[in-house]
Amino acid sequence: MLELANIRKAFNQGQHNEYWALKGIDIDIPPAQVNVLKGPSGSGKTTLLTILGCLARPTEGRVRLKGEDISGLPERFLTEIRRSTFGFIFQQFNLVRGLSAVENIILPGYPTGTPRGRLLERAEALLAEMQLSHRRDAKVEWLSGGEQQRVAICRALINDPEILIADEPTANLDSKLSAEFLVILQRLAAAGRTVILTSHDPLVVESDVVDRVYSLRDGQLIGVQDKAIA
């Protein structure tokens, strides 16, 4: 589904404070599975996730999406791929304050020019799926942490992406809400979506929901655990 070949990423390249966050990573993400990037702070998991999700480009190396090299594409095309193929859930949820839950959910659909009616229809269905229909018109700042995250998941799914990217999704949730979140991920993977997340939360890494765990340290991949085989 998503292949990374010899990925290296430098920050402040050519300057005195040059720093290599990734030092040659090779990864092959299979479709319709839950993948976790784990590692301590500074291991390069978030940097790797941004490259996997086409939010950033690698300094060196190739990114292939369904066999097609996308690492050299101009920003415009990369945005188009990001919009149609990826859905994002951020650690801080990154919802737009002042807007209602449903308005936040349909935001990624705006640049596609999809009629508002159709976007709303889809948002309602997602809200119902997340058991959040009753909070449809509530401003997002009035929602609880768990509700905010479910809104963020709905927003990530509005353009019907094949791959879902989540950065430390359980960092702001208690154990109960984290477990609920994992159930949602399992449902999404079962529906054919590929899920990639970063986490150092044992609850996530050791969960049965996760199919594959990639361990990172100091910008290098130090191990891959295929839980389905194990």
Binding site: L49, L95, G98, L99, E103, L107, P111, P115
Partner: protein
């Protein structure tokens, strides 16, 4: 195409929503901006209307007025002088005019006494301008006495008050018969104040003027177009003076609007990061901000212009009138004919809406081109 329109609708929706979310900032900006447009549009509408009024009023006056000069000063036209003008090609009509100024010590104001050429006034009667009607409480049928410069008291009956429409030029006018005029001022028989010439073809006016100067070297032809030009430059000058006086305020307004438009709050920067991360292109963010600039500036332009229109044509330009209209004891009270000039509107639009819209786009460019992964790093 449909998708493009739908997308713009979404962007406008989002923009309107963002403006509503930042009520205080948006409203403050709108008020300041509307004020700026209001002041500029008021000045420009008023001077434009004044110029039009002058043109309209002068339309019925003769194309050339010929004055006689002695030692560079205006002197009376002696008997026989008109005959020496003779027949000039292109001149339709030639008439000697009688007019002069009279200082009314009661009102401490100057009146213009004149013998009309297009109507007759009976001896002992006068027709007065609307300002006289107001200031001295006169009406048709009343009598009024003026003490002439020779010290004699002359009494006249007012038969009519001139219409208000022509007040810009007739406010202080007193029309009387030729015999009364000559008697009142002890004006020598056969002499005139100046000569009016009507020329049918506008292109001939200048030639006729030149011929007059050749024939009568001691005369000065005054062309109507020159009078109009003088009026125009007086109004232009006053408009310029006023704008110069207001420039500090306009500049302050401008800086405020620029700063408000150009500055991006941390909240806005965060929002842009989110939008980029969830799949908005740089172009989408810029288009959204463009709509924001356009919505605010268009709304402010419309509000400011309409308010200025009402201020000038219905509110008598009350706020800025003393500066632009000039000063006189007998103020003509007149209402201007509403007139909007397309070019004037376009110029104002160009100088207000465009810079603002541009101002909103400049900072957004750098914010919108930042990498979307920054949002991932909080």
């Amino acid at each position: 195409m449909n998708r493009w329109i739908e997308k713009q609708r979404h962007l406008i929706d989002f923009t309107a929503n963002s403006l509503a979310r930042r009520k205080a900032r948006s409203l403050g900006l709108l008020v300041v901006y509307t004020l700026l447009v209001f002041v500029l549009a008021s000045v420009s509408l008023y001077t434009h209307a004044l110029r039009n009024e002058a043109t309209r009023v002068l339309a019925g006056t003769p194309e050339i007025v010929l004055q006689r000069l002695i030692a560079g000063r205006h002197d009376l036209i002696p008997p026989g002088y008109m005959d020496s003008v003779g027949r000039l090609r292109g001149v339709q009509k030639i008439e000697g005019r009688l007019w002069g100024y009279y200082y009314d010590s009661v009102m401490k104001a100057n009146y213009t006494f004149m013998v009309p050429t297009d109507r007759t006034v009976a001896d002992g009667e006068i027709i007065v301008g609307p300002a006289l009607e107001r200031s001295r409480g006169l009406a048709a049928g009343n009598g009024i006495s003026f003490r002439s410069y020779s010290g004699e008291l002359h009494t006249f009956i007012i038969t009519e008050v001139l219409p208000h429409e022509s007040e810009l030029v007739s406010a202080d006018l007193v029309l009387m018969s030729e015999a009364d005029f000559r008697r009142f001022f002890t004006y020598p028989e056969g002499q005139y104040t100046d000569i009016a010439l009507w020329v049918a073809n506008p292109r001939e006016v200048r030639n006729v003027g030149l011929k007059l100067m050749e024939k009568l070297p001691d005369s000065r032809p005054i062309l109507r177009e020159e009078v109009l030009r003088t009026y125009a430059s007086i109004f232009d000058w006053r408009e310029g003076m006023m704008l110069a006086l207001l420039s500090a305020a306009i500049l302050a307004f401008g800086i405020f609007a620029w700063e408000k438009a150009a500055g991006l709050s941390a909240e806005e920067k965060r929002e842009i990061g989110i939008l980029k991360a969830i799949g908005w292109e740089t172009g989408d963010v810029i288009a959204m901000k463009f709509w924001e600039g356009l919505l605010i500036s268009l709304l402010a332009f419309l509000l400011g212009y309409v308010a200025a229109y009402i201020h000038v044509f219905h509110g008598n330009f009350a706020l800025l009138q003393p500066v632009l209209k000039g000063w006189a004891v007998l103020y003509p009270s007149f209402s201007l004919t509403p007139k909007i000039d397309g070019l004037q509107v376009a110029t104002l639009f160009l100088f207000t809406v465009l810079p603002y819209t541009a101002a909103t786009l400049v900072p957004i460019w750098s914010a919108a081109t930042t990498d979307p992964d920054t949002v991932m790093r909080g």
